[in-house]
């Protein structure tokens, strides 16, 4: 079985932690420290596997995030890489071109998606579409957006500025065209 999954940035900031066995807070903190130290110290083109105590650690970097999965010794490391990749694909489908900011601002969604893909340290669903459908259906059930909007506010903010600019330009252009058409004749009086 899988023992834990950690997501952290290149500076070692934790973005997601999923533990599949009961562990004290203190041990969790220590494991997180060990994992970030070990993984961030690895050379860029190293093998993605390392041995840590009695567990195999499989890690992979996607953009600015490290995905670090610990499995028991009898597990298949090459398949574990596929598990990580599948999770990234699921996040990508949900958020659309997922980036670290999405995970930061919507961490609870990242957990919800993970909990439809894995459970108790094992794979729950092998079909991408099934996982996506379950998440979408669950999202529909949410009565009220108690936590905020879907996308992250920074992006929203930029989007709204761009949109307002575009609208403004269109308006201007629109007025220009209308002038040419003599539309404004009425109002000049």
């Amino acid at each position: 079985m899988m023992r834990f999954l950690l997501l952290f940035s290149r500076q070692g900031k934790l973005r997601l932690q999923k533990w599949f066995t009961p562990i004290t807070e203190r041990e969790k903190k220590k494991i997180i420290r060990d994992m970030t130290t070990l993984v961030l110290a690895r050379q860029p083109r190293s093998c993605n596997f390392l041995q840590w105590k009695d567990l195999k650690i499989i890690y992979k970097r996607y953009a600015s995030l490290y995905f670090c999965l610990a499995v028991e010794n009898q597990e298949n490391e090459l398949l574990a890489l596929e598990v990580i990749h599948r999770y990234v694909e699921l996040l990508d489908k949900y958020f659309g071109n997922v980036c670290e900011l999405d995970i930061i601002f919507n961490f609870e969604k990242a957990y919800f998606i993970l909990d439809e893909f894995l459970m108790g340290g094992e794979i729950q669903e092998t079909s991408k579409q099934m996982v996506n459908r379950s998440i979408e259906a669950s999202d529909m059930l949410q009565e009220v957006r108690c936590t905020g909007t879907n996308a992250h506010p920074d992006l929203n903010h930029t989007r709204s500025i761009v949109i307002s600019h575009v609208v403004f330009i269109c308006l201007f252009a629109g007025v220009g065209i209308l002038k040419r058409l003599g539309f404004w004749c009425f109002t000049k009086q």
Binding site: E82, T126, S127
Partner: protein
């Protein structure tokens, strides 16, 4: 009144991210926590969900969130799906089975398992399956079993994994899930199929009866696997042209368990394994993942030899793959099979040896381990050449293991004694400081027993000393040999190579040089003093030796002092015993165990029959260790002689000379003592020798000692004697520090080591330096 609406989650995240310092962040967090706490106190239902979500974010940043535990329970009990979603998430993050409130969840989960909405049931199953305690599992197993029989595949797959968790927590409950497993494999839904295979695997691994019972499923599993391989493109499950690799791997693993030790089952799966092994696309990682699992299965079951060879060849091809991960996995698998299929693995020896030159550290390590496993009488010369080359160029982290491996292999398969000695010399000269402490007595024993090579050995060791005296194990072995065979050295006779011409004075110069050098550890100094003493019966310059011995009678090193005093006494009062005591060592039998002999306190001296111990051994010598060795007997003799005949207590003055030693660190069984000397040319330089000892019952490996001093000081740290601190005080690691100081000495030390499998790190201040060390 201003009605305070708790801020939104995203808003909080954005605010916290603007903090420029840790302190600023902490302040924001504390402020928000206070607001959340008062909101909780007001029992606000509307914003509880939002507040708990914020708390979970802050928890991820590392801040305490335990005051939100009960709130998670309230959210779970709410009717709103949004509340339940966050509540269950919070429970999984904040509430493990150690918390008392954990059990309060049981009723909520029970209700939700029977909820009308499948997504609520799903949440409950997920939470139970991830972190349900044994009591919860006992209470709710019945509900899970019910859901395992439902036709709703969404729930069925979750129930299967939940059952796996229940069985892991409460193995006795396994039986109750047996009926529900009856038609699990006839499902078409891949999610259910996958989790069912996981459930069946768990049951088979835990119970031989279950295993026997489920063997009948082999044909069905083979059919499912065949369909996956032969079926056309299925968009829902396709990964780079392979249909549901996750399910394929899981089935292969279950087949492995079912086929192990059973001829019939193994035969039934033979064809499909061959088919997967030959037809799987290898261009992408996913195909190789399946091949890897297939190989593991083939090797574990009773497969026919053709299939086994096919499997090993797949691993051989993996070794040539550009992808590092695949090479690593191949090496790991070959290491597992090298015992059972030795000849097949041997065929890939050259590829494996090439992997020693790989840039990747993980691969190098596996290749080294596998190389040692492949060494045999036929390939020893070639293999050793490669391994010694590897030893020369590898990272320090490998050197100790590699050196040990070389010694072991050489001992087992050396084609000739000369080759053996040469190999040892090579290791000592290239990786001498990484060699384990226990290698020294083993090597000494080996050299003693190679009678015809004595002249050659002592000559080579002498020459090595002329080049370099920093590697302690080399210096110790060399000193011992010179002391033992110095007569051969100066005789100018050597069969194996051109004999060197060296005089007694030159040899004594070298040995005395070791005594005064700051590179020599106290153990090494002990060896060289004893060697000088032994030469008194082999050389004619007895007066010079007497002078040296008497000088060290007032050494501040207690160990040296004791030896020198004893040797002095040997000259003065017991000169008639001297030749017999210092006679050449006889050929020794190998000790029964491989444990380290107590070489630290002792040194190879003469025949034990000369002196009979009249009294029981003194305290401090662990009897079992010294019992069977010549070293031990003689050390006992000498100590006894010292104690009863030489009346040491009157001749040793500990405190009148020099700087007293101190304990710098003593924690978790690791004790570090400092002993002091003043360097001869520059009295402002304090030479500190650290002595690290380990009183726990496990060795401390990869021991690294680092020291830092205030800017006004200058510090030089020399190589340590070893990086393994043996358990139960069986030896010490020593290291020399030179500090240029004229003020009160302060030091910060950092220790890192591996103990019982876990990495330990500690920092400590050392402030209790004796005033004499800096005045």
């Amino acid at each position: 009144w201003v009605c305070h609406t708790p801020i939104r989650l995203r808003e909080l995240i954005r605010t916290i991210r603007t903090a420029r310092t840790q302190a600023e962040e902490r302040e924001m967090i504390q402020k928000e926590c206070a607001a959340i706490r008062s909101s909780f106190r007001e029992e606000d239902n509307t914003y509880r969900c939002r507040n708990v979500a914020k708390l979970l974010y802050m928890h991820m940043l590392g801040y305490p969130a335990h005051f939100g535990q009960l709130e998670c329970l309230k959210l779970i009990a709410s009717q709103k799906f949004t509340d339940k979603r966050i509540g269950y998430l919070g429970a999984m993050l904040l509430l493990d089975e150690r918390q008392d409130v954990h059990l309060l969840m049981t009723n909520c989960i029970k209700n939700d398992l029977n909820h009308s909405t499948q997504y609520v049931q799903g949440l409950a199953l997920c939470t139970l399956g991830c972190m349900g305690s044994s009591e919860m599992c006992r209470d709710l197993a019945g509900e899970v079993e019910k859901l395992l029989k439902t036709s709703n595949s969404y729930l069925r797959k979750k129930a299967a994994l939940c059952a796996v968790h229940v069985i892991r927590k409460v193995p006795e409950l396994m039986e109750m899930f047996l009926p529900a497993t009856k038609n699990l494999l006839s499902e078409k839904n891949h999610g259910v199929l996958h989790t069912s295979v996981v459930l069946l695997t768990e049951m088979c691994e835990r119970s031989p009866d279950m295993l026997a019972h489920f063997r009948k499923l082999v044909p069905q599993l083979v059919r499912i696997l065949k369909n996956l391989i032969m079926s056309g493109y299925s968009p829902e499950h396709d990964v780079s042209g392979i249909s549901d690799p996750f399910l394929q791997v899981r089935i292969l693993r279950l087949l492995r368990i079912l086929g192990k030790g059973d001829d019939d089952s193994s035969e039934a799966m033979n064809d499909i394994l061959a088919q997967v092994a030959t037809n799987t696309e290898t261009s992408k990682n996913v195909g190789n993942a399946i091949l890897y699992e297939t190989v593991l299965t083939i090797m574990d079951i009773k497969s026919e030899s053709g299939l086994r060879v096919l499997a090993i060849n797949i691993l051989g091809r993996f070794l040539l793959n550009n992808d590092k991960n695949i090479r690593y996995v191949a090496l790991t698998s070959l290491l597992k099979t090298v015992q059972t299929d030795h000849n097949a693995v041997q065929r890939h020896r050259s590829t494996i040896v090439d992997c020693l030159k790989d840039l990747d550290v993980s691969i190098k390590r596996r290749a080294m381990e596998l190389s040692f496993a492949l060494v045999n009488g036929n390939n020893i010369r070639g293999m050793m050449k490669e391994l010694l080359y590897f030893l020369d160029s590898c990272d320090p982290e490998f050197k100790a293991d590699c050196a040990s491996g070389v010694f072991l292999a050489a001992e087992k398969y050396a084609p000739s004694k000369r080759w053996h000695i040469d190999t040892i010399m090579r290791v000592l000269t290239t990786a001498g400081s990484y060699v384990r402490d226990d290698s020294v007595p083993n090597l000494i024993q080996l050299i003693t027993n190679s009678v015809e090579m004595h002249a050659y050995t002592v000559q080579r060791l002498y020459k090595a000393l002329l080049d370099d005296i920093s590697q302690q194990p080399l210096v110790q072995v060399a000193s011992w040999c010179i002391g033992e065979y110095g007569d051969l050295l100066i005789s100018g006779q050597c069969e194996e190579e051109e004999p060197i011409q060296v005089t007694e004075d030159e040899v004594l110069d070298v040995l005395e040089g070791l005594l005064v050098s700051n590179l020599s550890s106290p153990v090494t100094r002990g060896y060289s003093l004893t060697a000088i003493m032994k030469l008194s019966t082999r050389f004619s310059s007895v007066n010079r030796i007497k002078k040296v011995v008497s000088i060290y009678g007032s050494s501040i090193d207690v160990e040296l002092q004791q030896r020198a005093v004893e040797y002095n006494a040997l000259f003065k009062k017991y000169d008639h015993m001297r030749p017999a005591l210092l006679e050449r060592m006889p050929i020794m039998e190998k000790t029964a165990s491989n444990g380290p002999t107590e070489i630290v306190q002792t040194n190879g001296e003469a025949e034990p029959s000369v002196v009979e111990p009249k009294h029981p051994p003194p305290v401090g010598q662990p009897a079992s260790q010294v019992k069977n060795t010549v070293f031990g007997l003689v050390s006992r003799c000498l100590s006894l002689m010292a104690f009863y005949l030489f009346d040491l207590s009157k001749t040793v003055n500990f405190l009148s000379i020099g700087i007293p030693p101190m304990t710098a660190y003593n924690k978790n069984g690791l004790k570090i003592d400092f002993t002091f000397e003043r360097a001869n040319p520059n009295p402002n330089v304090a030479v500190i020798t650290i002595h690290a000892s380990n009183s726990t019952e496990a060795d401390m490996t990869d021991f690294v000692f680092q020291a830092a001093v205030p800017k006004t000081f200058q510090l030089q740290l020399l190589s340590p004697s070893s990086n393994v601190v043996p358990a139960l005080n069986q030896g010490t690691v020593t290291q020399v520090i030179r500090v240029l100081n004229q003020q009160k000495l302060r030091m910060r030390i950092k220790l890192t080591y591996i103990h019982k499998g876990s990495a330990v790190q500690d920092l400590a201040e050392v402030n209790n330096f004796p005033p004499q060390s800096w005045q």
